[in-house]
Symmetry: C3
Subunit: 136 residues, 3 copies
């Protein structure tokens, strides 16, 4: 379920994007304990004139490789979120050579009844998916 | 007010997209009792390499026609959401030939003060729109 | 931190888009008291067939210039949001010639732990950013 939107400046190859999505998914599995096939990822590419990321005065340098990762998910404990940020940056750096200073993350929280994974059913309400399973 | 983002793989014609948006709007009207002109729909098309939708282990088969529908709305009762998922899949199947197994929905909840429909005003706060009207 | 998505029909020049983003950022600084470098803006352009904005029966006329501005932010008081809608429309009209009737805004609320601005850290939790600072 976490639904992921990854926004970036255009120019990566399909293979580079695939590596980035794979790394993000590994981080979600490790930190949020989601099932392996709980994968919903959408990429938005932008010309440089349509993607502005500064640093809130934190002294973080951004490059053209910067990505903004927005995660919509059921509630997660703050500890799991913190772990996610760390593991995500590690995975992206090791696998894709992306600097941790180029990784911005925003999480949006929803509830069980806010998801239908197909067939017109709310699988967390019907019991097809266990409510507790992915709350870490 | 519900603001709808529909993400899909590129390739549909404008007419096909229009039919899909119309069907989605009919489902919102039927399930959430929104006014007919409460229509805010945005489509994002993606190359296949930038749109990954799996099944959380539910055994649901996806095709290239798969759509992810993200709805940002004021609070709705869970029963209305469940009805929306069902009516939406029915409308999309009957009108657009889209299989219910290709329909993923995610709902994000906001409050009255989070909306301005134009003119710099928060119409739910000013009383131009009744707060209760679209809470079903 | 507010993360801004601005959706519009395609056709604006990079300079026009820049002016629009600058105006939006000035409105956020004025109304939400965010730091000057707290700027995270993403633009999505769409063909007319993929961008539908009606008026919820409010009698608001839309043109091809219409923009939908979605703001993801930490909690803000309703008064600050109301101010934002007003200042935003004023800035966009004065600077970009955009009619207030063409400005739709949707706000999504998150919490401190939902943000990582880089380096795999949750800067509101680590104390690098003061939690109170941008809550107006």
């Amino acid at each position: 379920m976490p639904l992921i939107r990854i926004d970036m400046i255009e120019g990566r190859s399909p293979d580079q994007i695939k590596a980035l999505l794979d790394a993000t998914h590994r981080a979600l599995i490790a930190a949020l304990k989601i099932p392996a096939r709980d994968r919903y990822q959408i990429v938005h590419e932008h010309p440089p004139s349509q993607f502005f990321v500064e640093d809130t005065g934190l002294g973080i340098t951004r490059t053209r490789s910067c990505v903004v990762i927005q995660v919509t998910t059921r509630p997660r404990e703050w500890k799991a979120k913190e772990t996610f940020y760390q593991v995500l940056c590690h995975e992206l750096e090791v696998t894709c050579g992306l600097s941790p200073s180029d990784v911005v993350v925003s999480i949006v929280t929803t509830t069980d009844e806010d998801w239908s994974f197909g067939n017109g059913r709310a699988q967390f309400l019907t019991g097809e998916l266990a409510s507790e399973r992915s709350v870490s």
